[in-house]
Symmetry: C2
Subunit: 148 residues, 2 copies
């Protein structure tokens, strides 16, 4: 089995575990949405995922996709990309990376800076269950910096 397949398998096993822990059923729809999400390196919207999943499961409803994405977020199996939303963009927890977002054009730039992969949690919130730690920058991209 290739490394990629192993990684994939691990994610599905992890997902299975999270669902059990939360008392959630393993429906085909849920699995399909999850697969669609981790199968892309983009930050898809609910519509994007809907379009994708329907190729294999033509009857799934948009509401189910929306509901499922929310559920994934609630159990920490996916996250919403920072930013002002509308539509929300989801992130299936691909490899470590951070985001820069342009305040003018809304473009999201992925980058990776290792020191940010695992920053420490301050004592003040140490008693919470922390599922995700994010470092995030905002400003103007090159184009928007220059076009005044």
């Amino acid at each position: 089995m290739s490394e990629v397949q192993k990684n994939w398998n691990n994610k599905l096993i992890d997902f299975h575990g999270r669902c059990r822990a939360a008392g959630l059923k393993m429906t085909p729809q849920r699995v399909a949405v999850f697969k669609a999400l981790i199968g892309t390196d983009k930050h898809p919207t609910a519509e994007d995922v809907y379009r994708d999943v329907r190729l294999e499961m033509p009857n799934i409803s948009l509401d189910t996709v929306n509901r499922t994405l929310l559920t994934l977020v609630e159990i920490g199996a996916a996250f919403v990309v920072e930013g002002t939303g509308q539509p929300r963009r989801y992130d299936g927890g691909m490899d470590d990376h951070q985001h820069f977002r342009c305040l003018k054009c809304g473009k999201i730039v992925d980058f990776h800076y290792e020191p940010y992969d695992n920053i420490d949690v301050p004592a003040a919130i140490g008693h919470y269950t922390v599922l995700r730690k994010t470092v995030y920058f905002e400003g103007y991209c090159d184009a928007c910096t220059h076009d005044n």
Copy 2:
């Protein structure tokens, strides 16, 4: 003049400068929205700001508040609080702090951890104009951690 008033004055001067730099007019509505935003330590929605501003300026329209808030964000005079939005919550750049957000109940907890006040910008995005650097955590708050 008190420290608080000085701080306020500085913010208004900074705001004035940002508007000039961006070629924006100093309208009473714009100033009122900005003042309402920096005058609170909450993270108000557009509706909250609207309600607040109308006390002094009863004819201002909700659209103007929305538009103005977006404008403030674009010039870096305000920011949208991380999270899944709807309604968006704005932040007038009060004193340094970070956010923890509960993935179940949506509660936002402010905390302050000095090392995060001024993290460094990686070279990869060094050529962008960085206006805001954010460290942000997600997970379950105490109540949601325990109630299964």
